[in-house]
C-alpha cells in the first residue's frame, strides 16, 4: 500500500524541505494561502479537514490505489525513447507515459482522488473548470463512474479548439457550460466555477484540475499527482540502476510537473526543469509564462506569479495549447523558483509543434501539445549533455485531442 502524502515531522525538517510545505496556512514561503470571499472559507476548511483525515485512512488509500491500478491502468510505463535520443546524440531520454492512462492524460490521477473525497463528504454534484478539456473529461469520467452530477466550465475559445473533448464530456453525461466572460479561456472558466461553488456550496464539490486555487487544493492535487514521480523514481532505478540526471515537465498550472518533481525534491543530484508556454516568444508578450516574465500577485485564491499589466489587471495569455494557456501558476512552483530548486524556462508554439511532429514520426507516439513543450525542451537539453546522462520527461498526455488544431494550423481539412 502506498501512502498518499509523505508525512515528515515538520518540527525537525529543513524549512527548504518541500515535504513540510505548505505550512498550516497553506503557504509555500510567501506564496499560496487562501484569498477567497468569506463564503468559501468554511467549505475550504471542511475540505482541508476531510483531506487531512482521509489521506491517512487505510480504506481511502486502498480504494485510491485500487482505482489507479484497475481503472486508470497504473503504473504507467517508463519508456526509453532510443531513436529520439540517438537523433540528438546526447543524454538518454526517458518518457513517463501518462498519455497511456485512462482518458489520456495525468489529470485522471487527481480527479479519482478528489471524487473519492467528494463521495465521502456526501456531495452529489461535482463541478470542474477545464482548458484543454482533459481535466473536464477526467472529471466527467469519474462522475459517470460514481453516479455524480457533473458540470464543467470551459472558455468559449477552448470549446472551439478542443471540440473532440467537448463531445467526450457530453457523451459521459456532463453538462459543458461555455464561459463567455473575459478572455474566454481557462482563467475565466476558473472564475465561473468558483462562482458556481459559492452558490451551490452545500451539495457541490469543486474538483480543481491543477495545483492552483486556494489552500488546500495545491496540496491535495500535488499529493494525488505525486504517484507519477514515485513510480518513475522506482522504475528509473529498476531499469537503469540509478536516478535520472534531469527531470523535464511542462507547466500550465503545474500539476503534472509537481507530480513528477515532488518525490525527487530531496535528491540533490537531480536537476529539474519546468517548461512554460512561450507562445509567439517571450519578447512578444503573447505567451503564458508567468514564472519567466510575470511577477507575484493574487489570483484565484492564492498568491503566486501572474501575468498582469501595470494596474494589476490580469492580461490575456496565448499558447498553442489550451492546457497551458493560463496567466497564473501553482504557488509551490513560485516557491521552487525563488529558492532555485527548479529552473523554469519556456518553449515557443513553433518549437512545441515541431516536437509534436518529431515524437510522432520518430517514436510513434502522438503527444499532447502541452507535453510537446516538455519534449521540445528535453531534446534541446539532451544535446548539451553526454550520452551516459539521463533525462526523464513527463509525457503528460496524448495528442489525439489536438489533431484538429494541428491540421488547422497546417491548412489541412480532416
Amino acid at each position: 500500500m502506498t501512502r498518499i502524502a509523505n508525512n515528515i515531522d515538520p518540527t525537525t525538517a529543513d524549512s527548504r524541505n518541500s515535504d513540510v510545505m505548505p505550512n498550516a496556512h497553506g503557504m509555500f514561503g510567501e506564496y499560496g494561502g487562501r484569498y477567497v470571499a468569506e463564503t468559501l472559507i468554511e467549505p475550504l476548511a471542511e475540505l482541508e479537514q476531510a483531506y487531512s483525515h482521509y489521506k491517512d485512512d487505510p480504506e481511502f488509500i486502498a480504494e485510491f490505489d485500487t482505482d489507479l491500478a484497475h481503472y486508470v491502468g497504473r503504473p504507467s510505463p517508463l519508456y526509453h525513447a532510443q531513436r529520439l535520443s540517438q537523433k540528438y546524440a546526447g543524454a538518454q531520454i526517458y518518457l513517463k507515459r501518462e498519455d497511456l492512462n485512462h482518458t489520456g492524460a495525468h489529470k485522471i490521477n487527481n480527479t479519482i482522488g478528489q471524487a473519492l473525497l467528494a463521495k465521502r463528504m456526501g456531495k452529489p454534484r461535482i463541478i470542474a473548470e477545464t482548458g484543454a478539456g482533459q481535466h473536464g473529461v477526467a472529471s466527467a469520467t469519474v462522475a459517470a463512474r460514481l453516479g455524480l452530477e457533473c458540470v464543467v466550465y470551459m472558455g468559449e475559445q477552448d470549446i472551439h479548439r478542443q471540440a473532440p473533448n467537448v463531445y467526450r464530456m457530453k457523451l459521459l453525461g456532463a453538462k459543458v457550460v461555455p464561459v463567455t466572460s473575459g478572455s474566454k479561456t481557462l482563467k475565466d472558466a476558473l472564475n465561473e466555477a468558483l462562482r458556481d461553488w459559492v452558490t451551490n456550496v452545500d451539495n457541490t464539490f469543486y474538483i480543481i484540475g491543477t495545483v492552483a486555487g486556494p489552500h488546500p487544493y495545491p496540496l491535495l492535487v500535488r499529493d494525488f499527482q505525486s504517484i507519477i514521480g514515485r513510480e518513475a523514481r522506482e522504475q528509473m532505478q529498476q531499469q537503469t540502476g540509478s536516478l535520472p540526471d534531469a527531470l523535464v515537465a511542462c507547466v500550465g498550472g503545474g500539476s503534472n510537473a509537481i507530480g513528477l518533481f515532488h518525490p525527487f525534491i530531496n535528491d540533490e543530484s537531480v536537476n529539474m526543469f519546468g517548461v512554460e508556454a512561450g507562445g509567439y516568444g517571450l519578447e512578444t508578450g503573447k505567451h503564458s509564462a508567468p514564472l519567466n516574465s510575470g511577477r507575484p500577485g493574487v489570483l484565484h485564491g492564492n498568491r503566486t506569479y501572474l501575468m498582469e499589466d501595470d494596474n494589476g489587471q490580469i492580461i490575456e495569455t496565448h499558447s498553442i495549447s489550451a492546457g497551458l494557456d493560463y496567466p497564473g501558476v501553482g504557488p509551490e512552483h513560485a516557491w521552487l523558483k525563488d529558492i532555485g530548486r527548479v529552473q523554469y524556462d519556456s518553449v515557443t508554439d513553433d518549437e512545441a509543434l515541431a516536437a509534436f511532429h518529431e515524437l510522432t514520426r520518430v517514436e510513434g507516439i502522438i503527444p499532447a501539445l502541452e507535453s510537446s513543450h516538455a519534449i521540445a525542451y528535453a531534446t534541446k537539453l539532451a544535446s548539451t549533455m553526454s550520452s551516459d546522462k539521463k533525462i526523464l520527461v513527463n509525457l503528460s498526455g496524448r495528442g489525439d485531442k489536438d489533431i484538429n488544431t494541428v491540421a488547422e494550423i497546417e491548412g489541412i481539412t480532416i
Binding site: E42, P43, K187, V198, T199, P296, Q313
Partner: protein, 279 residues
C-alpha cells in the same frame, strides 16, 4: 470620529437605516463616475461603496463583471479611482466612501502607498473581497494607521467563532452577505438574515449592513427592518448598463430607483419605530 461612525450615529438618532450604494468606478465611463456618485447622494444614499474594477471579479455575478469590463475598456486604474474620490470631495465632504475590490490591483500599487493615498484623498474605508481575515493582518494594521476603516464580509457559512474574530478587527460597519452566491443573485431569505444578524450582534456593537440580492423598494424595506444598513449594487448597475449612451436618462433612472428605495426604507423603519414605541 470617522465619517462612517458619524453617519451611522446620526442615522441611529433618527431611527433610520443607512442606504449604501455600490457602483463600479469607471462604469460606463471614468468621466461620469463622480456625477453618478453625487446623484446617488441626492437620491438619499448615505454611504458610497466604490468598486475598484478588476479583470477577474470572482465573487461577482454577471452584472458587476460587465461593469468591470466596461470600466477596464476605458483603462480605469486604481490611481484614477483615488482621483475620483478626491474630485467627489470637492463638493461633498460628508458622505463616507468605502473602496471595494480585489487585492491584486492594490498589491501592484503597493499596500503602503495605497493606504497613504487613500487617506490623502479622503477615502473612509476599505473592503477587499478576496482578503479574508486570516490573510489581512498587514492590511488591517496599515489601514488603521491611515485612519481607514477595515470592513469585512461575514457570510451565511461563517462560524460563530469566526464572526467574533472578524468583528474584533472590523471598524465602521460589518457587511453581512445575505446569501450563498455572487452579487446580483436573487432569493433573499429575510428570516434567515434576521437570525444571522442577531448572531453577529452578540459579537459587536458595530452597525451591520446587509448586501447581495437587494434590488427594489420591497426587498430593501424588508431588510431595512432588521439591519442597520442596506446595500444596493447590481440594480443600479443595470440602469447604467441599459442607458450607458444616454447620460440624462441614466442619471434620472438611478435617482428614481434610489429615491424609491430610500422612501420605502424610511417608511418601514418609521413603522418599526412606531411599533417599538407602542410596545
Amino acid at each position: 470620529m470617522s465619517r462612517l461612525q458619524a453617519t451611522f450615529e446620526n442615522l441611529a438618532k433618527d431611527g433610520r437605516t443607512a442606504l449604501i450604494a455600490y457602483v463600479t468606478a469607471g462604469d460606463p465611463h471614468p468621466d461620469l463616475t463622480v456625477q453618478i456618485l453625487h446623484t446617488l447622494v441626492e437620491a438619499g444614499c448615505d454611504v458610497i461603496e466604490l468598486g475598484i474594477p478588476f479583470s477577474d471579479p470572482m465573487a461577482d455575478g454577471p452584472v458587476i463583471q460587465s461593469a468591470c469590463e466596461r470600466a477596464l475598456a476605458h483603462g480605469t486604474s486604481l490611481k484614477q479611482v483615488l482621483n475620483m474620490v478626491e474630485e467627489f470631495r470637492e463638493q461633498d465632504t460628508q458622505t463616507p466612501i468605502v473602496l471595494m475590490g480585489y487585492q491584486n490591483p492594490i498589491e501592484v500599487m503597493g499596500m503602503k502607498k495605497f493606504a497613504k493615498q487613500a487617506q490623502q484623498k479622503q477615502v473612509d474605508g476599505i473592503l477587499t473581497v478576496d482578503m479574508p481575515i486570516e490573510q489581512a493582518e498587514e492590511a488591517v494594521n496599515e489601514y488603521k494607521k491611515h485612519e481607514l476603516d477595515n470592513i469585512f464580509l461575514i457570510a451565511p457559512t461563517t462560524s460563530s467563532e469566526r464572526i467574533k474574530h472578524i468583528c474584533d478587527h472590523s471598524s465602521g460597519f460589518v457587511y453581512y452577505v445575505s446569501l450563498k452566491g455572487v452579487t446580483g443573485a436573487g432569493n433573499l431569505d429575510t428570516v434567515e438574515v434576521a437570525k444571522n444578524i442577531e448572531e453577529i450582534k452578540k459579537s459587536t456593537t458595530l452597525p451591520v449592513g446587509v448586501g447581495f440580492g437587494i434590488k427594489d423598494p420591497e426587498s430593501a424595506s424588508k431588510v431595512a427592518a432588521i439591519a442597520d444598513a442596506v446595500v444596493v449594487g447590481s440594480a443600479i448597475i443595470n440602469e447604467i448598463e441599459a442607458h450607458a449612451s444616454d447620460n440624462d436618462k441614466m442619471l434620472g433612472n438611478i435617482k428614481a430607483l434610489m429615491s424609491s428605495i430610500r422612501l420605502a426604507m424610511d417608511n418601514s423603519s418609521t413603522n418599526q419605530q412606531q411599533n417599538k414605541e407602542v410596545a
